[in-house]
Symmetry: C4
Subunit: 250 residues, 4 copies
């Protein structure tokens, strides 16, 4: 590659990063708005037709906005093939109507943005996971309610049922008093179960790393080694001053 091509590519990477920095807040806000216009008509079925129509228009507008954002980033990306491969989930969430609820999960990035400044990496990861899982639980409850309410022999008929089902699923308790019966509901459930494992796994892992750090012999061994090295350094310094003294004597 010639020097000019390298320069152009690095300029492109810069432009993409600048674009993402600028539109980040906007997209997070759009995701939060999407969550609202997606959940509202499902949670309150008695809404007047006009409001429902407004919600679907807003939802479609946000979808177009996300699509435009994807295209702009694709154009700014120096390596198109790699961009498509690295952002495959973005493309799937845009293209498949079944994955529509997942668009709301982008709202989690807003959460992450708020937390980033003040916390340690572990605190941040926990906050991110807990916040993300709470969001996932809410979106899953809304999506399952949407899928199940129409079915005759469903057992999830209200948002209370759906929220309780989401809680029992995400924690892998699974009483079985409420469970999805339609194919769409079952897909939502499968996604939520994986989220539940991720929740439990991250909490456990964070705890484990805390233990490893604060307790016991690893840190102690390190401290002992540092003490030994300090002793050794003092020894060498003494040697050097001894030698210097000798040189002076002569």
């Amino acid at each position: 590659m010639s020097c000019c091509a390298v320069g152009m590519e690095s300029r492109k990477v810069e432009r993409l990063a600048k674009y993402e920095r600028r539109t980040g807040w906007l997209l997070s806000a759009a995701a939060v708005l999407f969550l609202m216009v997606y959940a509202w008509p499902i949670l309150d079925p008695g809404l007047p037709g006009g409001v429902i129509r407004a919600c679907s228009i807003a939802s479609a507008a946000i979808w177009i906005g996300f699509g435009a954002d994807y295209l702009v980033r694709l154009i700014l990306a120096p390596n198109k093939t790699r961009f498509v491969r690295d952002h495959l989930t973005d493309l799937l969430v845009l293209a498949l109507p079944l994955l529509r609820p997942l668009r709301a999960l982008r709202a989690a990035t807003a959460l992450a943005r708020l937390g980033r400044a003040s916390m340690t990496l572990r605190g941040q990861t926990i906050a991110y996971v807990v916040g993300g899982v709470a969001l996932l639980g809410f979106v899953a409850a809304v999506a399952v309610l949407d899928a199940e309410r129409g079915s005759e022999d469903a057992n999830i008929k209200t948002f209370g049922d759906a929220a309780w089902w989401a809680a029992t699923t995400i924690t892998t308790v699974g009483y079985g008093d409420r469970f999805p019966t339609t194919p769409e509901g079952k897909w939502v459930g499968a996604g939520l179960m994986v989220g539940g494992i991720a929740l439990a796994g991250t909490i456990t892992a964070a705890l484990a790393s805390w233990f490893v750090e604060h307790i016991g012999s690893v840190e102690q061994a390190g401290a002992e080694a540092q003490d030994q090295i300090a002793t050794l350094t003092a020894e060498v310094r003494a040697l050097r001053s001894q030698l210097a003294a000798e040189q002076k004597l002569r």
Copy 2:
């Protein structure tokens, strides 16, 4: 901030710490008492009216005591806003009647106090979690029994049912033979599920840190490095005595 202000603030921090040290045992005892007067009328519905009335008076008195303690600590705190933010759960547990059972969880601090002296940090954490979770399970069983017993189509009617439900929930087994059906009971259940994940996570994490410490290459690598440093120190000492001998010779 002037020097005097700093002095005042540090004196305030000291006073708060002294107050908390002094009242710690008292508050733990009050929490244990609260647990008793909270659980007793629920567990034994055949209690004479006078005893039930005495229990609710004691419960209210402890509530006032906790409230007074919160106010005193707030007054002693140098930074009011920060104190409110850092002790938000204390405030919520005081203000929301639904969170009333959580007041009993303060009894866990008594447990922690007993264990603190004699154990390693990991043993202490395990004892704290196991003790805390046992307490959580008991409180949840009592609270769910309180919530469910009034309901017609509930399936938790005795303390035995409630305790079995708590065990299946906290371990995330969730057979579904017993489960809460009222909104209050479901909130209790949701809290218990999170406790169950914390239980499993902490036990796993403690085991993992034990493995990391006692097995394998990390510790070994540290030991090898220490051996190497010891060899090196011996080398430097030999060098120094060689030099000293030379100086003597002259």
Copy 3:
């Protein structure tokens, strides 16, 4: 403590260790035998009365044997109070008829004995846990069958039911198609759930420690430090030989 007392105590500790070394195999064999005479009459209810009677006699004999072993160890122990405190579970398993099935768990020590020679500490721990949990699952299935079979509205009536229930419980899946309904069965179930969490936790922890050891920067950092120390040692050795050469020259 005088020198004689110390000598007596250390001789006692030695005698206790010698006794435990000698009787270890015998007690493991007794535990395996106990497992058989405990499980057989439950698994095959059509046994002739004579065999059942022989089984209960053998069971009682083993119980007396375990009791005698506990007494001998108590007598040999230098510090009685500490021995009772450290072996509280032994005492409970001997004293409480409800904990009778747990006597069979001592058979796990035989398993551990077999594995000890050839494996790494982690492999050994996994083998011990998996073996112990398999044993726990079997004992729990037998115990729950014993508890449930007599009950009218129980849903665990055959060993197949009980084994399936044990599998769904120990893995915390908990479908709820089979579950204990009697108080004794529920106690067995609660014990098994805790075992299930221990199983999952130990497997996860072993995996985590494997990851920590084989992957990544911790080991690498150690290796780098060792390289640095080696360089430093070479430097010091060069210095020393330089000094020696100087001394020769003179």
Copy 4:
């Protein structure tokens, strides 16, 4: 052992490794084919008799192929007893018709082969586990459908039911709306539960090792020790040049 025997053995080990390298792809392909001819007749019961017969012939042929492969490797192995002991699962999967579905799991090695080149060890392990567990879930769903469809009072009658059951089992949620009722189905379920624990455990463990590596004091302590050693080395170098200067002066 004489020098010739050692030579022969090492040549044998080499020949076995060469054979395994060459036939690896072929066996993976055979496993994928087996998965297809095993699953197809179960998933589509309306298949014409000819196709079903072709599938069972292909299945038998692959079985013979796997058997031949086992024999060849046994012949090439320098130590027969050790080979049989180390490849006991291979033998069991070949010999027991009940374990027939497990033959398809060898297809996971193909997956591993694809991933090996490009990823870190942790990424590789996760990909391997997730891929392997997805395969396990699919095979278990097919096997349970095969076992349950014939039974009158089964509740798993379609592949949709079976897949949903597999998802709730592998994540240990276990609603209990679908569960195996036949002994064969229950064996499949037990295997899947263990797979579910392995899934959750590996994800947790990978997360934990990531935390341990990227966060906190272990790495920092190592870095500090390295800084100390660097300081010390500089010190010793200064000493040596000081000595050299002295020698020159004379």
